[in-house]
Symmetry: C2
Subunit: 519 residues, 2 copies
């Protein structure tokens, strides 16, 4: 994109790389398994004609800008189901007027200055993988998508302190490539790893792949450097501090509404060399739930401890015979590890160990491979009119079983209501804490092109309602964006909302940054 | 105090219990070891006559109030060296006009309402153990000390999720007494444990006794309930969330300037049953520093990993022969533990293991006993005119050795300059993170009554300067209060300061709460 010779092309309408998208026949075959679904996929769309740009950046910024239709199209939405459906429908009425790709922090400041003067909204864009409407704009006026991926370097590595200074636009693979020669890793692998940036992770309080320990990127931040419309804010690099409320925690989760995170000092670690894993099948999901709670409270820190319910295990190929599957994994940079303790707990709760425990075959590998492939399958199903989306939450253990069951029931009922056929609501627990799990739900239901957006909005409303009634968070790690504002507004204390509005007025007095997000 | 039959009486002028204070002869003997110090202690003071109260709470609150001189005197200051010296001098000119002891959250709100109407400042008071001027008032007008220790109950225990709902005024021992029947503990033991409250810990981002893992109380918070002058803010109980900036993190560290923390859901855990410990001596401090860095980055989580430099080890009786001492401790609720790995690292860096490793004798016990006794010794030395105070910080490993040496040199020079004799600057590392340690310094210098305040202020200014120059935090866990504002204002990003001011204007529009703190 824009002068980079990529061997692969990013899909402007769907997930990931164009070459990885499902072929038509595969889409049909997949959709055939979903009752009530159309099985002829709509065509992969061409970039439609876009509205003429309504904003013209000044000459000094012109070299950083593009109004190229394919680029504007690719920056119109994130990668939620809603986004894919709208793109497939050819609805790019909300495309950015301009895409700006700053090369320096000063460029970022210059864009914010110009935008403030010109009354143009600025939506920060990292890898563009938001699944919550975080990178689009729903206002009326002109807007620019501020693509930060040219700020993609690891500027400094402090091997003594195990920390690295990283630019906000660094994509996951680029980060790890630059840390690898030092024998270091951030060890933060969200599902969107290939298509998301460090700055995006920080702005959305991203959750990594690891089930326990520091699950959110928040916990590996030493300091942040943030460009706001009124100046730059930089905190000191500190391993810990008790000096007033944390300045960094105000920007973590600010979703581009308070400033643009241009740099961060992050805690890195030695690359793990020792691994162990195991998989355990359960006949009864409640038994598995009890097992993972005991594991989460047993004082161990596992790299992986994912519980897939029957449907999720079946869908991912981790288990075919009506079982829930618990995938356990440990790793260390320091010495041999095992999963003996957690395995013992799982077996005591009625689990049955799978034979393969080397982490590269069996249920572990099946699930891992399906996990990375899943967004492409999602796109294929969407082309066939299916309703296919995920949402995640977190709650305390005392309500976990009730909540999971209520979501299954109520979201399932909503899907049946709007689709006219039974859908599927699967659950896995992606992250575990001593005081509660993070349940992650997948909704699948048969549908047809044209009805998908409205159908999903109704199903999503049911999900928001059941989460809110149980005081389970509207998002564990996908962020709020625009799609989850109703749930967020219910969850957030009113006085914190008022506080955020006051902070926004200070840092972004002209309301330039990501309008509609947070406040 | 006020209707409670205490077997022991809190000292109004010094640390802890009156019966634990040092006898005159012991003070003299201790001071005799400090060159240049007076050795006749000034008398333990009587409560001086206090200014007549300038504020009269309304009848509805009168039953919660006291203007009793001993109570007002005890609520005038915290327990910093400056506070003890001022109390010994009989300077209680800044005493609160009234001390209010609410019984309910509604009482707290009523006090804030009245204070706003009457133009009276309100300074929240937990256990009164602030060592940074957090619980006094330095303005001109009338003020009340809002003593929260009647809100002292554990309201609910969720054993399934391992969490407890605790009132903000619960003192450390009361908390543990109420959790013990459930087999649970918060495992948060600051040095002030007996004399500090849960709400105080939360408002000051207190650091516990444990060297690694969740060191700050911040990390065990599920939700907070806070009474502000404009209403109550309550967050949802969540094990984790990615929904916008954390509402709780705004109140954590807010030091009573944004609201009064009346309740919190906190993560508790099973009481540990297995322990192991060891002590290692080092001839050279840099070797010990290298050892603890390697331990901190070795993937273990120790309960204890305190490094005492030569002076600190000598002072506490942990080592008499010119050694630095590293105290290692592991604990678990789940199974046997050992400290073999960290011990091996320490020995590889030239450490020599002490013989006793059972955790109840030798260097470990000596240091532990001295640790708890230290504030009483401080008071005894203060009565003899000594300069005796501590401060703590945190920094990354790349600057740790340079910083510790710079503090020793520059703070030592300042002490020599103002006292005319060589003082002592000892260091221990109290908390360890993979990316840096928390060094804790003790300053001891001979002096005389009458010169202590000015002398300490000059020494403290030197400490603030050297910490700031190295971008080491002004406080790791003592908080900012009024005493550390200069260092805090230097450290805090300007835009975060502006943000906090905006939040303060929203939550405390009449500026009632702890004026002078934070903003």
């Amino acid at each position: 994109m824009l002068g980079r010779m990529e061997q692969r092309t990013r899909s402007w309408w769907g997930w990931g790389w164009t070459g990885e998208a499902m072929a038509d026949e595969a889409c049909s075959a997949l959709a055939a398994g979903l009752p009530g679904c159309a099985t002829d996929p709509v065509p992969v769309p061409e970039v439609p004609e876009l509205r003429a740009p309504r904003a013209a950046p000044p000459a000094a910024l012109a070299g950083l800008c593009t109004a190229e239709p394919a680029v504007r199209a690719g920056h119109t939405y994130g990668k939620a189901f809603r986004d894919v459906v709208r793109a497939l429908d050819g609805d790019l009425s909300g495309a950015p007027d301009v895409v700006v790709l700053p090369r320096t922090e000063d460029d970022v400041a210059a864009v914010l200055d110009w935008a403030g003067d010109a009354g143009v909204a600025v939506v920060p864009y990292g890898g563009g993988s938001s699944v919550v409407g975080g990178t689009e704009y729903r206002g009326e006026g002109p807007w620019v998508s501020l693509d930060l991926t040219r700020l993609d370097r690891v500027l400094e590595v402090d091997a003594t302190s195990r920390a690295a200074r990283v630019q906000g636009g660094t994509l996951g693979p680029g980060l790890e490539d630059q840390l690898r020669p030092h024998g270091l890793t951030l060890r933060h692998f969200p599902q969107s790893f290939e298509f998301s940036t460090v700055g995006g992770w920080l702005a959305t309080r991203s959750g990594g792949h690891y089930a326990m320990g520091p699950t959110h990127v928040d916990d590996v931040v030493e300091s942040l450097r943030v460009v706001t419309p009124v100046g730059v804010s930089e905190s000191w690099r500190l391993p810990a501090s008790g000096a007033g409320p944390s300045p960094d925690r105000l920007f973590l989760g600010s979703e581009g509404a308070l400033g643009v995170i241009t740099e961060a000092w992050l805690r890195v670690q030695r690359r793990p060399e020792h691994r162990a894993s195991a998989a355990v099948r359960f006949v009864r999901f409640p038994d598995a739930l009890a097992a993972v709670r005991e594991i989460a409270q047993s004082g161990v820190t596992l790299a992986n401890c994912r519980l897939l319910d029957h449907g999720e295990a079946h869908f991912s190929g981790a288990a075919s015979g009506g079982h829930a599957v618990l995938v356990l994994g440990a790793e260390s940079a320091h010495g041999p590890v095992d999963v003996a303790g957690p395995l013992e707990i799982a077996l005591a709760h009625g689990g049955v160990a799978e034979e393969c425990t080397d982490g590269r075959d069996g249920a572990v590998a099946s699930w891992r491979s399906a996990f990375l492939r899943m967004p492409y399958l999602r796109d294929g199903l969407a082309r066939c009119g299916a309703i296919v989306e995920t949402f995640e939450t977190a709650c305390t253990w005392d309500t976990a079983d009730v909540l999971v069951e209520a979501v299954r029931t109520e979201v399932g009922a909503a899907a049946r209501e709007v689709c006219g056929v039974d859908g599927i609501v699967n659950c896995r627990l992606t992250h575990l804490y001593p005081d509660g799990p993070a349940p992650y739900f997948t909704v699948l239901a048969g549908g047809r092109p044209g009805m998908q957006l409205g159908a999903w909005d109704e199903i999503r409303a049911a999900a928001t309602e059941v989460l809110g009634r149980h005081r389970a968070t509207i998002t564990h790690h996908h962020a709020v964006g625009r799609d989850h504002r109703p749930g967020y507004d219910r969850q957030r204390p009113d006085l914190f909302a008022a506080s955020l509005r006051a902070v926004k007025a200070v840092l972004d007095p002209r309301g330039v940054l990501n309008p509609g997000v947070l406040v």
